[in-house]
């Protein structure tokens, strides 16, 4: 059996202390295989985003462990952690978080700039990512001058530009109308199928969840159901 790209081992996460203590995750175990698409589904406040943040190494679990390619990520130092996030993960959020008054190309190449990639290499790879999303002609436009669907495509280009192994999409269509939402979904699933990027979708939308290879359902910080498990 291959080593999962990401795994949660009895992960618990609580916020606050004493009387104000709140357990957002109460013991979650999950393996994510390289190249699969998986959805984490649940109502608002169920703990989906918390789980995603732990898997994306943005936060540390209170107890339990997150493993990256079989190795405990809790042992990684700050610098290695930053480099790992930069090179391994791509992020698509419900909100676009595009830098206003900055060109589409500059927004897309942000992860490369953080990685310290040189200017011409950055431009080349940025344009490549934009071409894949049919946005090459908008490279010089200001990010704020685009429509919602275009913006989310820019965000996907930004998530792709450093050729990550895993893309995290937190409510990727939450801010889009049904038609453009469907287009964005198609792009993400197409990427997963054609390039083998692992896709982790966080959503409360069961229709979107049904399109992934596998779904885990979360309620009150616990996995309550799994669908599409192979074994």
């Amino acid at each position: 059996m291959p080593v999962p790209v990401l795994a949660a081992r009895d992960v618990k996460k609580s916020y606050g202390r004493g009387a104000a203590r709140f357990d957002a995750l109460k013991g979650v175990s999950l393996d994510i295989e390289e190249g699969e698409s998986i959805s984490i589904v649940g109502k608002s406040g169920s703990g989906k985003s918390t789980l995603m943040h732990l898997l994306a190494l943005l936060d540390k679990p209170s107890t339990g462990a997150v493993e990256l390619s079989g190795r405990d990520a809790g042992a990684l130092g700050g610098r290695t952690l930053n480099r790992t996030r930069n090179q391994t993960f791509g992020f698509v959020f419900q909100q676009f978080f595009l830098t206003p008054n900055t060109s589409v190309l500059d927004n897309v190449t942000l992860p490369l700039r953080i990685a310290g990639v040189g200017g011409s290499e950055r431009r080349r790879r940025g344009m490549e990512a934009l071409e894949r999303l049919e946005l090459a002609d908008k490279a010089k436009n200001k990010a704020t001058d685009l429509s919602g669907g275009q913006k989310q495509r820019v965000v996907i280009a930004r998530a792709l530009v450093n050729e990550p192994r895993v893309i995290f999409a937190d409510e990727p269509t939450g801010n889009l109308d049904t038609a453009t939402g469907a287009v964005v979904e198609d792009i993400l699933f197409d990427l997963n199928r054609r390039t083998g990027i692992t896709l982790i979708v966080v959503t409360h939308d069961e229709d979107l969840a049904a399109k992934t290879d596998r779904s885990v359902f979360i309620r009150d910080g616990l996995i309550v159901d799994r669908k599409g498990e192979s074994a």
């Binding site: 608002s44 943040h53 994306a56 943005l58 936060d59 700050g78 610098r79 952690l81 930053n82 480099r83 790992t84 996030r85 930069n86 090179q87 992020f91 959020f93 419900q94 909100q95 978080f97 830098t99 008054n101 942000l110 992860p111 700039r113 953080i114 990685a115 310290g116 040189g118």
Partner: protein, 429 residues
């Protein structure tokens, strides 16, 4: 993020909120402008003093006098084999113990001393040109190595037997010359009365015309040959022991001597019972006063800059607030806290650089314009004085200091940005 990209991003971020940046830069501009101007005044005045110094004496010359005995514990005892002469520096009428010709060899023997010459005081009654009106004249000696601020002609030459004199500009017209250039090469006549009451005259060639300086503006400058001739003429009738008694002598030392070597010469002379002062010593106290005034003025400018520093804190705190999401995103994408700190503190440093560079340029322009106005107005009596002078090193120091203040101001917002939790920043419902 590479260093260059960090700088580039910081600079472009600076221009994102133009109004806010402009206002902050303006506050720094005012401080830097004032600082550049006040230190420019310091530079200008000190530079003027330096040129004036070289016109009152060479750098390798010391004036030596007998050490005045401490009279606070009662009057000094009379020594029968000494002579008293009128003090050159003391209260009018006061006398000092003279240095006699015989003592010169002792001074000459001090290590580091090249040569010793008595300082002769020539006191002609008048100077005239071509039988015209006679004017009072005070003579200053000219030592080689000293330089005059000349309006025309050249400095009186030393090491020659011809009598040469440089006239101050104020003498040119009264004596009857048509212009500064006209005076050069003409012969003027000095009238001298000796100790027997007889009058004689000494003729000298005008070698040049000197600008009025801060000091000795109305002195004529004579070369050694002329000074000696005038001294000899006025000393007819004096006993040779009085004639060869000097209130002070001037000694020359190796111009390349270090400050330590100079003070060794001084302490050796002190042991022999002489006080020695260099031109630097004489002018030093004057410069100290100027420096103190400039320091106070600079203090005000620095206070303005510190106030501007709070402007930077405010501007950047707002900017960190506005860019919370962007910072969170960059951190989520693997940008380290150190780099985030660098990004914001570089932005502060750049704002500081902008304000101070523009301030310095503004001060240079304003200073140059002001100098032009003053040279034709208030300060026209002091040609050669550029009130506000800029020296590249002090401008660079000002810019660096302001950038330093800006960096310090930037640390507060930069730390806040660096500590930001990406999850908190990216939270939405």
């Amino acid at each position: 993020m590479s260093g260059l990209d960090l700088i580039r991003s910081a600079i472009s971020n600076t221009f994102r909120s133009k109004t806010r940046t402009t206002l902050t830069v303006l506050a720094i501009f005012i401080g830097a402008f004032t600082l550049a101007l006040t230190s420019g005044v310091g530079t200008g005045i000190n530079r003027y003093i330096d040129t004036t110094v070289s016109s009152i004496g060479a750098n390798d010359v010391m004036t030596v006098t007998k050490t005045v005995e401490n009279t606070t514990s009662g009057p000094a005892k009379y020594e029968p084999n000494t002579t008293n002469v009128e003090s050159a520096t003391g209260r009018p009428g006061s006398t000092v113990e003279a240095i006699t010709a015989a003592e010169l060899d002792g001074i000459r023997a001090v290590k580091g001393v090249d040569s010793v010459e008595p300082v002769l005081t020539a006191r002609p009654n008048y100077v005239e040109y071509n039988g015209g009106t006679q004017y009072q004249a005070s003579i200053g000696g000219f030592v080689s190595g000293m330089s005059l601020d000349l309006a025309a002609g050249s400095e009186p030459s030393s090491g020659t037997d011809t009598y040469e004199v440089a006239l101050p500009v104020s003498y040119v017209e009264p004596l009857g010359f048509t212009s500064d250039e006209d005076a050069v090469g003409k012969t003027v006549t000095f009238g001298v009365t000796d100790k027997t009451g007889a009058s004689t005259t000494v003729d000298a060639t005008v070698s040049g015309v000197s600008e009025a300086g801060l000091l000795g503006s109305t002195s004529l400058t004579a070369n050694d040959a002329l000074t000696t001739a005038l001294y000899d003429a006025q000393s007819v009738g004096l006993s040779s022991s009085s004639k060869d008694s000097y209130a002070s002598v001037s000694l020359r030392f190796d111009p390349s001597s270090s400050d330590d070597q100079v003070s060794t010469i001084k302490s050796d002379l002190k042991a022999l019972g002489y006080d020695a002062t260099t031109v630097k010593d004489q002018i030093g106290s004057f410069k100290t006063v100027i420096d103190a005034i400039v320091l106070v003025l600079n203090g005000f400018a620095v206070i303005a800059l510190i106030a501007a520093g709070f402007g930077i804190v405010n501007t950047l705190l707002m900017s960190v607030q506005e860019r919370t999401r962007e910072i969170g995103l960059m951190k989520a994408m693997g940008m380290g806290a150190g780099r985030v700190f660098g990004l914001f503190s570089l932005e502060a440093v750049f704002i500081g650089f902008l304000g101070s560079a523009i301030g310095a340029i503004g001060a240079i322009l304003a200073g140059t314009a002001l100098n032009g106005v003053l040279a034709n107005g208030l300060l026209s009596a002091l040609p050669g004085l550029t009130l506000i002078a800029f020296d590249p090193a002090s401008i660079a120091v000002i810019i660096l200091v302001v950038m330093g203040i800006a960096f310090l101001a930037g640390t507060i917002p930069a730390l806040r940005a660096a500590r930001q939790d990406p999850i908190e920043s990216l939270r939405y419902e």
